[in-house]
Amino acid sequence: MVEENIWELYLREKPAEKSYLLIGIPDVGLVGPISTSHMIRIFKMKELGYIDSTFLPPIILFHENKPLMPVRLYSTNIDGRNIIVLHSDAAIPPPGLPSIAKFIVDLASNLKTKMIILLGGIAVPNRIKIEKPKTYVVSIEEKLREEAEKSGFEILREGFIGGAYALILKESFKRRFPAIGLFTECFATYPDPGAAASLLSTLAKYIGISVDVKSLLEQEEEIRIKLRELMKRTVESMQKTGKEYEFTIPAMYA
């Protein structure tokens, strides 16, 4: 049984309404957190607050002498678009996934956000041979899906999505809260800044902003070395969270 109120929100100030809520949680290739971290850095986003739970590992970070909670919220306005970012520096342990999914959809609704955009990866076995990884749009709303398709985005037509993002999509679907996932082809078990760069280019096009990914690509090797430990912990956390289903063909298409 899922316990209620085990995730707590600490907000220093309320963000603007009708914002896009971008989510970057550690998952395959760490594509989400690499993307959100890059956005926070290049747009010098303001820290809004954080969320906390006993599900999180007992850690606190320090950056430039200042304490940072592992799961934080940031906000900014880019090219007239209000953006909120939820960034996690810690892999969410599997028992905490159902409750964080509900919490995020509650948060999106309470902050009167426009929609949730999940930033993540989709592991492909031949990633090494892919020069420019493709980003797929996954939507729980027909209208959003049709709009994305009309605008030339690649839609994920069939297949399983597993893990934290699957739970957020399910929760959004049940509550009819607008949510899409942008999932880029990536390595499953290695940090993939190249995939994050492709994803950010698609995100920029989707919400109509400009995101410079040059510095992300320049730091690719360094990011891959630095994030090995987080990747290792994420792979451990991903066991038995439904990620293994992503290579499965659903019975109805067999």
């Binding site: 090494i128 390595f187 090797e221």
Partner: protein, 145 residues
């Protein structure tokens, strides 16, 4: 106490000790950081796939540019991979790494006994090393009745 029962308990105790020792080794392996202070080497992330007659090992080596900087060796039942970074890597701002400068990767993996070392192949692309190790498998055809 009956002799057979004492021997049974002794075997049981040894088995429990063995299981605990395996768990302890696994915990050490999992909690091991991905760097070696004394050798000043990084431990790369890797993935191992076992097919029916082949082992495929993918090793992530960011910061390694050329194949001449990689050394792959099989010594007994160990696979040893060493690679040189194109420039020393350090993270002076992070407390546990303060002052440490890493120049190489090193990974040592145990291999099964039935490998065919003469047919091993390795490829390097986009910072990922791919090693194919064929396995000698005795195949017996079973008649279907």
């Amino acid at each position: 106490m009956e002799d057979w029962f004492r021997k049974y308990l002794e075997r049981f105790r040894k088995e429990i000790d063995r299981i605990f020792e395996e768990i302890r080794e696994l915990e050490i392996e999992i909690s091991k950081p991905l760097f070696d202070w004394e050798q000043k080497t990084l431990v790369p992330l890797y993935e191992m796939k076992r097919l029916v007659d082949e082992l495929i090992i993918y090793v992530d080596l960011p910061g390694v540019r050329e194949k001449k900087d990689i050394n792959v060796q099989i010594a007994g039942n160990k696979l040893i991979i060493e690679a040189k970074l194109n420039k020393p890597f350090s993270m002076p701002e992070y407390l546990p790494y303060t002052g440490a400068e890493f120049r190489n990767y090193r990974l040592e993996l145990s291999l099964p006994e039935n490998i065919d070392e003469k047919k091993c192949r390795a490829f390097f692309k986009a910072g990922v090393l791919e090693i194919h190790i064929p396995l000698k498998i005795k195949k017996v055809k079973v008649k279907v009745e």
